[in-house]
């Protein structure tokens, strides 16, 4: 089934690290507003794939179109795309030398060239959205992991991206903090944001995903809507993987 005018269109994507092939012939298209959850065993290329979408990795061959821009070596295009794509990392990667407010405003002020007052206003708005308006003047190290990750989400949202990428946003968190982050992500999904999440939180996936992707050994083994994906996946490997993680 071909979908009209996808916001992300990946065709035959290959990625090599030296001799090692991390991605092979990956095809994936994502509609505006669609929520895609990617899962798969460690080393299967999930991070590599979403890092390619944000140009944090370059790819070896194939084609990758994000928001109508074909990603290539051209530096200017890359920055145009990055401003439309927000990314949330497993390790939060907040800027430790800046306060929460500083973390949120620096991109708006330096990249979007907004005035400081406008930037702060928007920053406070998004802190409200991730339910930590009172932490604005703290430094990242003074926050819990869950709060840090929510700051990271707010930082990405402040750039008002069209697409949000999440790379295992909850796997560095203590169990009691996972839900506060997933709740924020669920609320974000409800606003119609286009999202690609690498996660093994299958409860979240069932609730939010429009499309489930299973990766193994650098290629996509299965793409299906969650109802199909969780009940009768075609690939045997995918079934084994699901059995393993759903038991726990």
């Amino acid at each position: 089934m071909t979908q009209p005018n996808p916001i992300i269109d990946i065709r035959g994507l290959n990625k090599h690290f030296g001799d090692f092939q991390a991605l092979s012939q990956v095809d994936l298209s994502v509609e505006t507003g669609e929520k895609v959850v990617i899962c798969g065993p460690s080393g299967s290329g999930k991070s590599t794939l979403i890092r390619c979408i944000n140009c944090l990795e370059d790819y070896s061959s194939g084609s990758l179109i994000v928001n109508g821009v074909k990603l290539s070596e051209d530096n200017r295009d890359i920055r145009v795309v990055r401003m439309e794509v927000g990314m949330v990392f497993q390790q939060f990667n907040l800027f430790p030398h800046l306060t929460v407010l500083g973390n949120l405003t620096i991109g708006m002020v330096r990249v979007r060239k907004m005035s400081r007052t406008d930037a702060e206003e928007r920053a406070r708005h998004y802190l409200e959205r991730v339910h930590i308006p009172e932490q604005a003047d703290k430094y990242p190290e003074q926050l819990s992991g869950g709060q840090q990750q929510r700051v990271a989400i707010a930082r990405a949202l402040c750039m008002e991206p069209k697409i949000m990428l999440f790379d295992e946003p909850t796997s560095a968190l203590d169990p009691e903090m996972i839900n506060e982050v997933l709740d924020v992500m669920t609320e974000l999904a409800a606003t119609g944001m286009t999202m690609i999440c690498v996660t093994h939180e299958m409860g979240f996936a069932r609730r939010v995903a429009d499309k489930m992707v299973f990766m193994e050994g650098g290629s996509i083994e299965e793409i299906a809507p969650p109802e199909v994906f969780f009940s009768k996946p075609e690939s045997a490997r995918c079934r084994m993987f699901l059995d393993r993680i759903l038991v726990h």
Binding site: N54, C55, L56, R79, R82, M83, V85, G86, M87, F89, Q91, N93, L94, F95, P96, H97, I106, G107, R110, V111, R112, A152, R155, A156, M159
Partner: protein, 258 residues
Amino acid sequence: MNSRPVSILLYLVVMWLIVQLAVNGAASMGYNWQWYRIPQYILAQTDNGIQPGELVTGLVRTVDLTVRSFLLAVALGLVVALLRLSSLVIGVAVATGFLEFIRNLPLLVLLYLIYYVCGPVFGLDRYTASIVCLAVYHSVLISEIFRAGILAVSAGQWEAAQSIGMSRAQSYCYIILPQSIRFVLPPLTGEAVHLIKSSAIVSVIAVAELTTMGRNIISDTFMSFEVWLTVAAIYLVMTLMLSIFVTRLERKFSVASR
């Protein structure tokens, strides 16, 4: 915790032994001590009232020379470090060539090269040539300090900066370098101590700094023991003060970095 008093005590003992050695040695060769003549070279009593003596004038020159070359060395060192870390093939080649060239020359030869060869070509006076020489020489080590400080910032910080659309220059300016400072500042101050000491070498091209002043006084008065001991003491006070500052700084940053 009581290693500090012990090391100060040890230091005083060693200094005392050196002084004893000098005094005894001087006595055995019949040296005529004239310490009373030294103060006039520090603060001179003239018709216009009290004026800085020659040694103090030299000290001011040394400080001026050190500060200027240090600032230039830091700027140059940062540029070299950024070039080496850049993805520009030419940048890396230029930086590496510069490093290898400077690193493998004796400081004295570098000074002669800059004063006698570059000096006439670019019209550098001896003071400027000295500043350039010291700056170039020390920029090599300073660039290593910056390089290490920049690499000490985790790769995740680069990725986060890029993911909010920052260019390489913006990432350096707002994210990476501000975080490198705490790795860089203590060794950088250490390098300033080193620079004060190597500044004495410019006395060979007769820049009127502390060491040159000392030599001039001796050629007039033949008081080599008194003058060199005084000059050494002045350098020592300067470098010790900076070193204590470095230790403070290191302690502060190691606490702050946890």
